[in-house]
Symmetry: C2
């Protein structure tokens, strides 16, 4: 079975090459510029070879949606420091979210920019659930630390996520890019959000 293994390896290698070259194109020219023929030229294979590894073009972009949310979820999880004050953790999460969107803007654009078309996949994307779990953890911790048991955590996570993405979208919309460091507006909004977690209504 050594031969078939080698084949499988070569197969996987080509698939990785497709992914790598696709990403190179996206990084250079944006995801709108990704075309099957450009990929084919980059991997130095003919067009139909790509369809041996991906059902269609959308599947390639979906791959980047998935890895994007995966990377984001990991980044968020990595700043979750249970020994730090809970409110600080939420701030760190927000900061990490901003930094991800700012430094991986091309990735962020695919994740939300394509968005609606490939929506069926969204609810099944485990990475998104993972992300919201991380948020949930931090938000819950704030509630507990403040002795505030009346919070609807699910509701707050959605609000948190909406706020985070809202700022990113408007930032992209207005300036076509996201500056490196979170703005005062953003930090203020996050602080306000945290405030609503602490204070019982």
């Amino acid at each position: 079975m050594k031969a078939t293994d080698k084949k499988a390896e070569q197969n996987a290698a080509l698939k990785n090459e497709i992914i790598a070259q696709s990403w190179a194109i996206i990084e250079e020219s944006g995801w709108q510029a990704l075309s099957i023929r450009r990929i084919a030229e980059a991997i130095e294979y003919s067009v139909p070879m790509i369809y041996k590894h991906f059902e269609n073009k959308e599947a390639i972009l979906e791959h980047f949606i998935k890895t994007g949310f995966q990377a984001l979820a990991e980044r968020l999880a990595s700043v979750l420091n249970p020994s730090a004050p809970a409110t600080e953790q939420v701030q760190e999460l927000a900061k990490a979210y901003w930094t991800f969107a700012a430094s991986q803007t091309k990735h962020y654009e695919i994740m939300y920019g394509l968005g609606m078309p490939s929506c069926e996949a969204v609810n099944n994307v485990a990475e998104i659930k993972q992300m919201s779990n991380v948020m949930m953890q931090a938000i819950q911790a704030v509630g507990e630390e403040a002795g505030n048991g009346t919070i609807d955590h699910y509701l707050k996570v959605k609000t948190f996520w909406s706020m985070l993405h809202g700022f990113m979208a408007i930032e992209l919309f207005s300036h076509n890019q996201i500056q490196e460091a979170p703005t005062a507006t953003f930090r203020d909004a996050i602080d306000s959000f945290i405030f609503t977690l602490i204070n019982k209504k």
Copy 2:
């Protein structure tokens, strides 16, 4: 000059027809499905006729971005009732924003979905400024009513807008549509935002 007037009228009529048929296509199949040839078929003219009235396809979509923000700004302005309590006005604005996005989802998708490509135009779009002016008015009123002079209104408008759009985007992202009435999550978030306008820090 009657003859040239008639020509101008016919010209405008065809332009309107292009817009109308384009919109019909978008409403039926989404803005991704809009193509020059489909428009040409619908207006019963040949393809190059369209280029007599619009520089390119993007210009047609940009037209809908503009009219979209115009309609949104008008809707928001129409619920601005100076004799009502200021906080209630902000709530009404948020509700109106939601209702617009829910009832004119195709329009809303073009306004933000295309977004990044045609970004240069954004800052010049007077309709967006008009929208933020309406928001500014209501937010300012809350601050005054609460005797809170420490608010940075510009900052709060941006936060407000980011929150509103953030919710719409996540709603579209998760369910591919926006339900008719604002969710409890949304109303709660808006109330929290208003809370930060009232309370001095």
